[in-house]
Subunit: 357 residues, 2 copies
């Protein structure tokens, strides 16, 4: 894969913004549904939910569900197939928000999307319970949607996310962690919800099994890219503009691919002792993070991590090819902007790979 020049061109809107423009009316419905569904007679619940959901989230997952639904074939221009996916798109965002609330408690995070995280503002107890509420609401939304297959997919994704988080927690500070274990963690905690988000859009609009599989593949591989790029950002040379605190993973002893590779390639006993001290013993001192970055770059770990990210990017784009062939033949009304949606999904891959640069 070579980097496509046009996504980097100045003034070219962000692919997510373009996707949101294409699906504007649909996303308005979903946003209204999200806000309506996190209401409760218990005032603390909408306060916590609004704090997180309104806080500049990119809504990438529900947008993916709507985009997948918009790729449906529809002979009747009066029927908007995307509408069938509304509840699922909202439910995907609720699952994501619930996991953010719980993750911040587990990680003892202090920042999320550039502001104080909910556990800091409202306490761990509120984060745990409002997470549970949103999680339950996500299932209510899915039940209303009425597709048992979509429900099954999303229930599995939720269980898989929890497994990924537990595995990550179990292996915190474990310097003998393998690449396979790292790949399992990111597939479970991130790719599982991305692939469910896209696949469900295909399922509830009655798309063919080939297309549902392609949507799954796109989501799966975009999710892998997304998490690897996120893990790279933690060791980026400059503070990333995504609201993530550079060095968080390092300070929490969360071992990600750049560190794994640097540890594999450690040449001296000093290097190994360094990683043991800072990650296993968590005896970190000033300058350790900068030294970690030096070692990571010295061993080419960032480049290799980036290559793996590109490997998944390529696979995500290949999945789009399956969807494109069909799309070009389709000339229906309504969301007949299939080709534009495909182009956005294509550019989104590049954006995800390069958002830290």
């Amino acid at each position: 894969m070579t980097r496509t020049a046009h996504t980097n061109a100045p003034h070219m809107p962000h692919p997510l913004e373009r996707l949101e423009q294409l699906l504007h009316a649909d996303m308005l419905r979903v946003n209204a549904m999200i806000i309506e569904r996190f209401q409760s007679d218990i005032p603390l619940i909408p306060r916590v939910a609004a704090y997180l959901i309104a806080a500049g989230g990119k809504r990438i997952r529900p947008l993916l569900t709507l985009a997948a639904a918009a790729l449906a074939d529809h002979a009747d221009p009066a029927q908007n197939p995307v509408q069938k996916a509304d509840g699922y798109a909202a439910s995907v965002e609720f699952i994501h928000t619930a996991t953010l609330l719980h993750d911040d408690v587990v990680d003892e995070s202090e920042k999320r999307r550039g502001q104080d995280s909910a556990n800091i503002v409202f306490g761990n107890q509120a984060s745990v319970l409002v997470g549970d509420f949103l999680f339950s609401k996500s299932f209510e939304l899915m039940v209303e949607g009425g597709s048992l297959r979509a429900l099954d997919m999303l229930a599995r994704a939720s269980a898989t996310i929890a497994e990924g988080e537990v595995l990550q927690m179990s292996l915190r500070g474990d310097v003998s962690m393998t690449r396979d274990q790292y790949m399992t963690i990111i597939e479970c905690k991130t790719a599982a919800l991305f692939r469910a988000a896209t696949q469900v859009g295909g399922i509830v609009t009655g798309q063919s099994e080939d297309r549902i599989q392609a949507l799954y593949d796109y989501g799966q591989n975009l999710g892998m890219c997304f998490q690897i790029a996120d893990d790279m950002m933690d060791y980026a040379s400059t503070e990333a503009a995504m609201g993530k605190n550079r060095g968080d993973d390092f300070r929490e002893g969360k071992i990600t691919l750049p560190v794994l590779i640097a540890m594999e390639r450690a040449k001296t006993a000093d290097e190994t002792a360094f990683w043991n001290r800072v990650l296993k013993d968590k005896a970190q001192k000033d300058g350790d993070f900068d030294h970690a970055i030096v070692l990571i770059h010295q061993h080419g770990a960032m480049n290799e991590t980036y290559s793996l990210c590109e490997y998944y990017a390529e696979k995500a784009k290949n999945a789009l090819d399956v969807l494109t062939d069909k799309t070009l033949k389709d000339q229906g009304q309504g969301h007949s902007n299939h080709a534009q949606i495909i182009a956005c999904l294509y550019d989104l891959v590049d954006f995800v790979v390069r958002r830290d640069r």
Copy 2:
């Protein structure tokens, strides 16, 4: 309601044990399913789940689902209608276990069922994440069951439980809490799952709407009894044998009915100052709990709480009358022990009301 003498007779087995004997084969299947479904490739997950699920839980909720299912009419003796409820019974137990894991984190509990609570043994992080896993698994089980109506009921119950827990947390130490707020909390956090457990048993075995409503009413009122009795136990004169630490609610500033009534009836400024200090300011010292018990008994708060418990007990029993009429007419095979199941459910009400005595 008068106390029925036979449940108090010596050597009379506990109504839950009798129910378990009547539904022995069914409960074996459900227990096997529970154990199978909390397995995971991530070893920590079954360890935490087994610690809690194997730890002497009474399985009252899944037993209620099976009992409700066993009251179904079934012309074909070869067909065991109860089997249809297996996955839902397991899923109800998973929801319950997930809420226990999260509650112990929220309450910073140290004991559960007489042993160290999971958050103490495995940490808050594992409790939050394994709770999420079990919660997701409960939805997987429901989806396999295939009844959207049962799914809807259980998803609503889950959201309601979370609302109850948030309300309880918001009102911790709030001495202006009202009886209505107390009733809302216990209905949400306890009765919602009891009523869903029984109702779902009726739904998935295709019982009439009248019977489904009666099952709902039985579960709702039994749940109210259960929680009020649980709240009374915290102020019982002797250490209760249920593994609950007497005085926990008091120490956590959790205001329950005995305290609410005692506060309403406080006659002196000293009494009001006492409740403000120990609950609102949480400035508790030695002897405060004993003094609280004295005030509670002095104002007849235990007796009044007990009366309310009996009020719900009566309603639970009335709901059984609807189910009994139908049952007596039914002479099918298989679970033709309808009358015995009804008798157990009847005695269970008395047991729940009087378990602290």
